[in-house]
Symmetry: C2
Subunit: 496 residues, 2 copies
Amino acid sequence: MTDTEGGAAPGILSELRPFFYPKAVAVVGVSQDSTKFGSRLCRAIQLFGFAGPLYPVSPRGTDFFGLPMYPSIDTVPGPVDLACICVPSPQVTDVIRQCRNKGIPAVVVMTAGFSETATAEGGQLEQELASLAGDGLRIIGPNCFGIYSPGGGVTQLPGATYPQEQGGLALLSQSGGVSVEFCRPSRDFGIRLSQAVSYGNACDISEADLLRYFEADPQTRIIAAYIEGVRQGRDFFYTMRHVTPRKPVILWKGGLTPSGARAAMSHTASLSGSKRIWEALFRQTGAIQVHSLEELLDTASALYHLPPQTDPRVGVVCGGGGISVASSDACHRAGLALASLGPEAHQHLASILAPSGTSAANPVDAGGPYPPAALLRDILMTLGASGDVGSIIIDRIALSARMRQALESAEDEEMEGDHLLTQLPVELQRRWGIPVIVVLREGGDLPPALEWEAERRRLRGYYQQRGIPVYPTAERAMRALGQAIAYFRYRDRAKA
Amino acid sequence: MTDTEGGAAPGILSELRPFFYPKAVAVVGVSQDSTKFGSRLCRAIQLFGFAGPLYPVSPRGTDFFGLPMYPSIDTVPGPVDLACICVPSPQVTDVIRQCRNKGIPAVVVMTAGFSETATAEGGQLEQELASLAGDGLRIIGPNCFGIYSPGGGVTQLPGATYPQEQGGLALLSQSGGVSVEFCRPSRDFGIRLSQAVSYGNACDISEADLLRYFEADPQTRIIAAYIEGVRQGRDFFYTMRHVTPRKPVILWKGGLTPSGARAAMSHTASLSGSKRIWEALFRQTGAIQVHSLEELLDTASALYHLPPQTDPRVGVVCGGGGISVASSDACHRAGLALASLGPEAHQHLASILAPSGTSAANPVDAGGPYPPAALLRDILMTLGASGDVGSIIIDRIALSARMRQALESAEDEEMEGDHLLTQLPVELQRRWGIPVIVVLREGGDLPPALEWEAERRRLRGYYQQRGIPVYPTAERAMRALGQAIAYFRYRDRAKA
């Protein structure tokens, strides 16, 4: 097999650029009813703060939240390079013909009611739609939620409050809902997106096109995808195989079970394909397989924040024997190796830890979740310096005085030196250049509940901004780290 | 095989009662240093509000937060029925002899430094300890965090702020840390405990003894357990097999992987046993197997809140096609069956849903996460009345006006009728008597973040108080429901 079919397409960046960095946007099908897709999308783009002209198009009405409305696309006064179409499905092809007349290069069709209905009429409408694409006009959709591109000032439905900052992760999602369900919590994972594309039925621009675009896009470092089915399997396969050694692609394939496959058929008319074919694809292309939205976000977070690492030996620091057993089991189940510490590190740890209720073997059990900062620093630096570990997980250690107070209901906890304590994981990662992960428990249970939650989020953001991903459980941390290390090992082999 | 070995022990309730409902408690080994175990435990019991006399015992000091201190257990003026021992390990046996002289029937040894150290000295100390038990004096521990029993007014370390109310779930945990890690978040799952016992090295009172006690205890409906290893495997096996048809036992066995087994050895000196033996135990006893703290809590929550159900056919209501695919996959993976709706229900749903962007097949896709209350009610009642489903999962539907506003950034959302919307899942469960589960996303991402979180917790508590468990993802909801239904099917077979 050669790699040429999946090779980079040099023209794709400029061809798809108007979707992501439009100069002027028209939303066709804005309704008087503010709950309809067209109105909601137009309002979302307006609230998001799109800098160029935004043209609401509708045969009825003259004003949309202060913007003049136009009865049809050809009455829009200035040039338009991105049109988002939300009119009922039988009218879509007419509007696209008008778009072509106006020279609009990028069209997103949000409207549903095409092949996913599994009716002859829907199928035919989609074929007509597809036949209008090409020759300077490209189509994303139909049956989708549109595009979020913070660098270009545009957002999808209902993304008025999505982050304004651009980041390094691109999402392609066949499902609009999954796109929203990813973009919203991605903030909690410290992830910022370069783009998110809900591409629906993919009548023209395919998953493979989007993979090629994201591979070429200099903003994008990591690609996450939710896919129910692909139409051009061969192109998809070769493109995926070409992209993964260059940028990691995390792929959540929906509909791998019989029940899921039936649901996918009625959702995006996708032939889900057999589980076996997809397993072969994952094996042969290096795409990173995940099974849920949670795992997609967890894995994305590891790849987003961590430095590359191929060494599977993990060091764990925790405060409790049962916790160390659980971490060890999770480490094994994630395909990682619990590091064996050499005699030097082991002896030093044994000399600084209390003689009972602790463990100087890995996982290093400090005896409780709030070891003094000086002790914690000594443990962490000993592991970092040992050469015995490729990465370190700090599992449910309280990393600020406020957390310590809440956990212990302490009445006289020292708030001094709080910063020294909190920054220890950062110091560890900077000094030894290895991946560090922090596990902060969701302590909603701890009174006063929302204060703990606020403190947890403060610490989470602090670490994420410094290249340290944060998870609520050791199991999720290990699973994500295992995925990241397996990817970097694949990449090294594929490049060799 | 007969069931006699694992049979109920009629005397166990009265024998162990002083551990859980003591009249007077002594904490031996209270130190001037407030960070030591003894002081922390004594302070926790005091703050928790133990109603009877509480005696801090220490050779040094005269006052402990207003309580008079006593130099030794035999100088304590009144009778004592529970002694918690926190002195260094070489002194423990002497203190227990004093307890025996004073006629104390229940002793918890918190101190570590026994067989878990894997030293000859530690092993011998534990043997001596064990030899002192019996004949009117029973021992829990050593190497543990003690007992939380809200009905008896006592708490474990560091449980000053654990809930005061008694509930129906009993926890036995070989690990003190895991006991804390369970008790704290259990509040978030709407679970209240009858008792929690951290039992450590189990030199006298064993896991099987605790199982027998909880089986006999009228407060306890459900038993959750974290176990690293058992010493009397035969007794444990038969007791477990006897208990599970009467009360569900959810068992998280730590140390099933090679790495975990090594950690368990240094934690509680447990021989973890082979994975194969434990798998046979789960198969043959009906104990419910879970693999993490999260799964232990999730499964406990399902059994705690849901009415019994053996019908595996699940109906799902959601608002999005991708979400419906994910729910379907999760349903299949949890060993459940996605219900097929009969023509009557299907036709009615098709007649009330929008013609495109929805699905009248199961999962029922309302087209978005905020269907009008009347539409949602019609969908739910149609499923309930159909006879086609054994339980219903409401997946990420916004169930209050506040949630709808946050999701949609709506500017003009109606707050009227909010109560009617919120109570729909309760109406569904009450009317049809089938399990209903609500999935509420963790929307920490949604600004203003903590307001969403507060609203999510308000709704979560509302549902949990009404017999509806709440999970953050469909995957976790399905997994927990699958465990519950598999248990009730086992129970019916075992009883038959």
